[in-house]
Each structure stands twice: as C-alpha cells, then as structure tokens.
C-alpha cells in the first residue's frame, strides 16, 4: 500500500518507499470487468477513462455542431426551429469546454504526470476515482434536460442573465446542477495534480527540471482552483434569481445584469487559458523530440506560462467592451489584453528556435504540433485584433469571434490533444499506431478545419452575427463552404477512432522509447507502461 503510506507521509525517506514496494503484488489482483473501471484508483486506468469519456463527448458535441452547420447550410429555416438551434449552440459549447477539452487534459495529466515526475500514482487516488466518476452523471443531467418539456439550456454557453434567469426554460436547474458537478470534478482533479506535483516528485526532480507539461498543468491547476468556485457562485446566483426570488442580476430588485458578465468572465477568461496552457506543455514535449534538439528557452517558457496565468486575471472585461464601460476601464482592459501577446509570442518563438537547425522528421505527432503552432498563432493574431477596443465594436459577437476562438480551441487545444495522443499512444498501448492512417487523419483534419473556420473570419467582417439560425442571402455561399468543411472535419475524426482501436488491438510492438529524440522519465518505462510504475523512485541526475 505504498501510495497510501506516501499520502500520509509525503516527506518519508526513500528507503521506506523501497521497503514498501515489496507489497506491490497485492495490486495485481485488481478486479476485472466493469468493476475494474468503477473502483479503480490507478492513475493509468483513470487516465484512460477520462480520455475515452472526453472522446465520446467530443463526438457528442461534434454531432451538435453538425446539426448547427446543417441548418446553416443555406438561408431560411429548414431542419430545426430557432429555439432548438439555440439549445444546440449552448450545449455544443458546454460539452466541448467541460466535456471534451478539460477532461482530455485531466486524462493526459493522470496518465503522464506520475510517469513524468517518477511517482507511483497520483497523490489522492480515491478522490481521483471520484472526480472522474461524477462527470458522466453531470453530462447525463445536462443532456437529459434536452428531453424535458421546454427543452434544455438555450441561452448560450455564457448563459447571460436575464436570458438565463427570468426568460430561461424550466430545465435551468438541471443545467445549474450539472455545472456544479463539473466544477467539483475539476477542482478535485486540480487538487490532485497540485498535491502530486508538489509532494511526489522523485528525488532530484527539482522544479527547474520538471517537464513543461508538468509545469503548465501545475499552473493550470492553480487557475482551476481559483476560478471554478467563481463559476459555481455565478450559477448559484442564477439558480436563486430564477427559483428563489433573489435579484442579483435584476435591476428591478437593485441588481445588475452586467454584474453577471463580470463574474462570469472573471471565471471565463482564466478558463480559456486552462484550456490552452497544458497544450503549451504538450507542444513543448513534442517539438524537441522530433527536432532532436533540446527545447529552446526552458526557463523563459516557465516564466511566460506564469505571466500568462497572472495576466489572465486582469483581462476578463475584454469580452464585454460593448456593455457600456467607462472609457478608462476599456483602455485598461485593452492594454492588459494586448500585453498577453508578449509571453505568448515568447512561446511561439521558442518553439521555432527549437526547430531551427534541428534534425526534423514529420511523424503524425509532429505534424499536429506544427499545425498547432501555425494555426494557434493565427488565432492569436485575431486575438490581438479583438483586443483593439474600437475595432472590437465591429468584431464583437460576429463570426469573426467564432473563427477566433475555434482557431485557438480546435486547432489549438484539440490539435494538441491529438498530437499528445499520437505521441504517447505507443507508451499507453505498447503498440505503434498506423503511421499511414495517422497522416491521412492529419491531412483530412487540417484541410477541413481550415475550410471550416477560415472563411468565418470573412463572414464576421461582412457583418454576420453569431448565434443566429438564419441569415441574409449575401452570406449564403460562404456558409455553404463552411458547412462542407464542418462535415468533412467531423467525418475525419472517425479515422482517428479507427486508428486508436487498431493500435489498442495490436500492431508493431513499441520500444520503451519509440521516438529517437524523446526525453523524459516516461520513456524509461517499458511499453506498454506497467500497471504500477515507479514504485521505487528513479534516480534523477
């Protein structure tokens, strides 16, 4: 029971750990079948659960995006009525943010952080089990609200009051409780990551030797703990405004609807960095491997990540420039937002400097990483444009914004998750994935995703508002192209599913270190990684 012993006494001596590791055989008799997954406290099992769950959610949220794009294929109302369209945009957003991207990162954290820092497991394994297993319930509640009379949440994933209070459907309480559960799950996951990284690093794994994925996740976890309670607070205020007669967001009772937006975005802006900082860690692992060269500017990467995290608390109101703020507030938030370009730029420059005069090969993880750098930077450029307050008045709430955040979230966060999956699949399954199929998946994805999102910039500049089920005829042709790109991108993801299943079932056996240039403790373990790894902490030189 060495995990428990370590949990109780984080500072115990190495000698004791070695003595305790004799007991590891007990763990081999873990239950099989469904019970294995229900009761598991193993970080690798839980990581797998998180990753499969997030993929299922990715397909569910994606199916909703397909419904949206089908309705927008041509002007007029063809397939669904506007109220259902609003439910689709709302739940698509909620599922992709809380069901696809965040659990995928938590899954990667579970699998990788203990192996990267030389720990036997996460610090709090039972809480780890719980933080995963409440998630399916949260999403069952959220999705079941769609089948209630009046339908599910239809007020956008940002649920601005009073649309989400006085004017919302009866199912709003289900939405609120599902968000509460997702928040609890995230907070528990974050606590686990922090405790693990702070207490369970192998001897000699000093702070400035930590892989960047571990660093970026540590900072992400602090962001999660800081802002998830804010989200819980704001949904609770929505709940009491709607059902218990409070007036937090109702001017008639002394409240203020704009206060909702301040509280929401105080959560919401750090949230977008929660969804991108672990990506930075992944890319910082993959680019050096396939460049066969050490990461350029490790220390500046750590400082840049920290600066982004701190700045993320000072920029929330750039989502609210049109709400009628004093001009000095607008200037403050414009300047702070522009500042974020500096540390983000440092990261991009570091990756490129890592590639510079390297010895490059282009396996699928590297292809996704390169696409990430280019397309995320494009999303960064539109981000700078959006930061310019006077121009934002024209971009705000148009397809330009939709294009911007899909570039940073789909070709940013999701591409990095894909890259990570390809990169570590050999370690997880013990088999090499089908490289040819991987390349097909990459090229289908990268082409279709640009056909999908790039023209949205033009739709926005031409004046098409977001979240509308029908549009003026001048937007028809471009919307058609966008929809075709959307269907192609959606279908491409089944190639990935097929590839992963094929890889789990068999294939060329992977070496302990299948990538020539890879560095890090996880590659010292055999492939597949044994169920219990680093029961004796490794020596870090």
């Amino acid at each position: 029971m060495n995990t428990l012993t370590r949990e109780a006494e984080p500072n115990m001596e190495i000698g004791q750990v070695e003595a305790a590791s004799d007991h590891q055989d007990e763990h081999q008799q873990h239950p099989s079948g469904i019970k294995r997954w229900l009761f598991t406290t193993n970080h690798k099992d839980i990581g797998t659960l998180y990753l499969w769950f997030s993929f299922i959610m990715f397909l569910t949220g994606g199916a909703m995006a397909m419904v949206i794009r089908a309705e927008l294929f041509q002007p007029g109302l063809q397939l669904i009525e506007p109220n259902f369209f609003n439910q689709m945009t709302t739940i698509h957003g909620l599922i992709m943010v809380f069901g696809a991207v965040m659990p995928a990162f938590t899954g990667l954290a579970n699998w990788l952080i203990p192996m990267m820092i030389g720990a036997p497991d996460m610090a709090l394994p039972r809480m780890n089990n719980w933080s995963f297993w409440i998630l399916p319930f949260a999403f069952t509640i959220l999705l079941s609200s769609l089948f209630m009379e009046g339908g599910g949440p239809n007020f956008g994933w940002t649920f601005y009051a009073p649309l989400s209070t006085t004017y919302s459907p009866d199912s709003t309480a289900l939405f609120v409780f599902s968000i509460h559960i997702m928040g609890i799950s995230s907070i528990m996951g974050a606590i686990n990551v922090i405790v693990t990284i702070v207490n369970m690093r192998a001897p000699g794994m000093t702070w400035m030797k930590l892989p960047l994925f571990v660093w970026t996740w540590l900072i992400t976890a602090f962001l999660l703990i800081a802002v998830m309670p804010v989200l819980a607070g704001v949904v609770t205020m929505v709940l009491t405004d709607k059902y218990f007669g409070t007036s937090f967001f109702d001017a008639a009772g002394g409240g203020d609807p704009v206060m909702f937006q301040h509280i929401f975005w105080f959560f919401g802006h750090p949230e977008v960095y929660i969804m991108i900082l672990p990506s930075f860690g992944i890319i910082s692992a993959i680019v050096p491997t396939f460049s066969r060269k050490r990461l350029f500017g490790y220390a500046s990467m750590v400082y840049a990540t920290s600066s982004i995290a701190i700045l993320s608390f000072l920029v929330w109101a750039h989502h609210m420039f049109t709400t009628g703020m004093p001009v000095f507030a607008e200037l403050f938030f414009m300047y702070c937002t522009m500042l974020i370009a500096v540390p983000t730029g440092v990261k991009v420059f570091n990756w490129i400097a890592t590639m510079w005069r390297g010895s490059l090969t282009f396996e699928t993880p590297m292809l996704f990483a390169i696409a990430f750098i280019i397309l995320f930077t494009i999303g960064g450029f539109s981000g700078i444009m959006l930061a310019i307050t006077p121009a934002d008045f024209q971009y705000h709430d148009t397809y330009f914004v939709v294009a911007h955040f899909h570039y940073v979230l789909v070709t940013g966060a999701i591409f990095s998750i894909m890259a990570a999956a390809y990169y570590w699949l050999p370690k997880w399954t013990g088999n090499m994935y089908d490289e040819r199929l991987g390349k097909i998946h990459f090229w289908c994805s990268v082409i279709s995703v640009n056909v999908l999102f790039f023209p949205m910039h033009f739709l926005g500049l031409a004046g098409m508002p977001r979240r509308i089920p029908d549009y003026a005829v001048q937007f028809a042709d471009v919307n058609q192209i966008v929809s075709i790109g959307g269907f192609a991108f959606g279908l491409s993801q089944f190639i990935f599913l097929a590839l992963v299943i094929k890889c789990i079932r068999g294939g060329e056996k992977a070496a302990a270190k299948p990538w020539e240039g890879a560095e890090g403790l996880e590659w010292t373990l055999p492939s597949p990684a044994p169920y219990h790894s680093f029961t004796t902490p490794p020596e870090i030189k």
Partner: protein
Amino acid sequence: MKRVWYIFLALLFTPYVLAAEMPLNMTKGVTDISGQVYNLHMTILYICCAIGVVVFGVMIYSMINHRKSKGAIAANFHESTKVEIAWTIAPFIILIIMAIPATKTLIAMEDPSDADITIKITGSQWKWHYSYFDQDIEFYSLLSTPRAQIEGTEEKGENYLLEVDKPLVLPINKKVRFLMTSEDVIHSWWVPAFAVKKDANPGFINEAWTRIDIPGTYRGQCAELCGKDHGFMPIVVEALSQADFDIWVAEQKNQASTAAAEAEASLSKSLSMDELMAQGEQVYMSRCAACHQPNGMGLPGVFPPMKGSPITTGPLMDHLEIVINGKAGTAMQAFGKQLTAQEIATVITYERNAWDNNTGDMIQAADVSQHGQ
C-alpha cells in the same frame, strides 16, 4: 503531397470567388469614426500579416532545410539571453505602436457630448422601439420579411431578414446621440456602417453616438443572443438630408394626428366577426406568432399555447388584462402601449375564436379602451 496542397489552397479560396456579392472585409462605413475603425483594423491586420510572414517564413525555411532526411544534424544551442530579451521587447514596441491610434479612436467614440438630437432605443423580444427626444415621435420597428420567405415557400427577397416595417430615420451631418436600454433581456444595437454596437441592458441606459456623412439606407442586426428570434430583429436606418428629414418629421406629426383621429373613430365603430377575425389574424401573425406560434400551439414548456388555453377560453377580462399589461416575470410583454385599442380588440377576438377555441366572444375597440388602455 503537392497535390494535397493544391486541393487545400483551392478549397481555401473558392469561397471568395463564389461569393462575389459578399464583401470580404469590414465596411469603411459612412462616418468619420467608422472610417477610423476601418483604418485601425487594416493597420493591425497588416502588422499581423507581416509578423506572420516572418515567423512562419522562418519556420517553413527550417522545415524545408533542417530535415533529417536531408542529412541535417541537430545543433546544440538551447538558450540565448540576448535573443530572448529581443523577442520580448520587439512585440512590446509593436503593441505600443498599435495602442496609440486605438486609444485616440476609442476616446473619440466614447464622447457623446454636444449632440444635436437624441434618440432613445429600446430593445425587447424581438423588436426595436425608437423614441425621438424633443420631437414627440416614437414607433416600433419590426422585421418585415414574410414568414413564407423564411420557411422557403416563397422566393427570398434582396434584403431578406434585413428589412423592417418602419426604419429609424436620421439626418446626416448631425451628431446623433443614442440612449440604449431594454425591456427584457440584453440586446445589442449594431449598425456596421456607423461602427456603433452597444448593448441594451434592462434597467440601465447606455450611450453611443454617430454623425452620418452620406444619405442612404444602412442595415444591421441585434448582436447579443436575446432568445428564440435573436436572428430576426434587424435594424434599418435611413439617413436623409436635413431638408428631407424635416419633411419626414412633419409627415410623422400628420400621421400621428390622423392615427389619433382614427383611434378615436374606431372607438365608436363596431366591427363584424369576420372583420375582427381577419384583422386579428394579421396582428396575431406579426406580434404574437413568434412565441405562441402561427398554429396557436406555443412551444411546450417555453411559450404557452393559445389553443384551448384557460386564458383564451376563460373569462374575457382576464384575457384582456394579460394582453394589455403583460405578465411580470415572464416573456409576456405589455401590449397596451404597443397596439391600438382596435388592434387589441381584433387580436383578442381572433385568439378566442381561432384554432377551434370557438368561444364566440367578440370585443370591440371601445371595450378595450374602457379597460383603461
């Protein structure tokens, strides 16, 4: 691999060949401010493109020339304080260059003082109300695209979804101040040609302003998700020369007095059931059908049905009360100030007799007026 690239490029650029009628860039607009915003947008875009060319250029050069398959051997450098300081400071300087014009434009945009005329804009689900200060002119402005076009049974017109029954009329070369507010949820009043987008918040008033240089018709839409028909509350502004504007104002005053006389006359008129039903159907379709649906079935759980409902088949006075004063805490608006007594009379008669409600109840304008409209 080359073929893939060609397909990729072809797919990226086909939309713009196809979309000849859609502008691909932000409008320059018709005001000094919108021109400044356009210039700002283009400046930042060019700077971003230039940075992109340099950064991606270096990356692509490296991808071509530093490949293992070409025999490249990895160098050993992994930090350089000088370079790192340089690429921290350079973006900082570029950002300052961007911030200076942005600050100037923003301060100009946020100064609505010394306006020549003031207009109060009130959003509600899903229409705009315009009220001219000092002019005693006010009216609602609703989407005028016929339902048949939206449902696809009729050819879509040129200004599909961007047309209204009564546009906002403004004089050119005058500083016009807008006061925005809302009666229910948050809306956002946006006309791209003026670079004005400001949220209409319930219970609060926001300010914005414009000074239009060129006469013409300018179209926009609500920009903040405001419920089911968010996509169906357009804005149309007609900008007239001062002389034409004065004529329009005079017309409005005439029309207002005619309308008042008509309303007065309607009080003593008694319409037949057929007349009431025919006029009531029109009012219902334009004002009520968005929520309660053309077939009177409502949307279960969101908007109550009219067919067989306790309101439309119960006591007439309760029905009248809810139409005139609305229902607090729900999306049901007070139509007493939006419709004339005759319109209310016809629509109530319609609702009580359509869709097999068949109560046989009739109500006349005078009855509505007595109720205290």
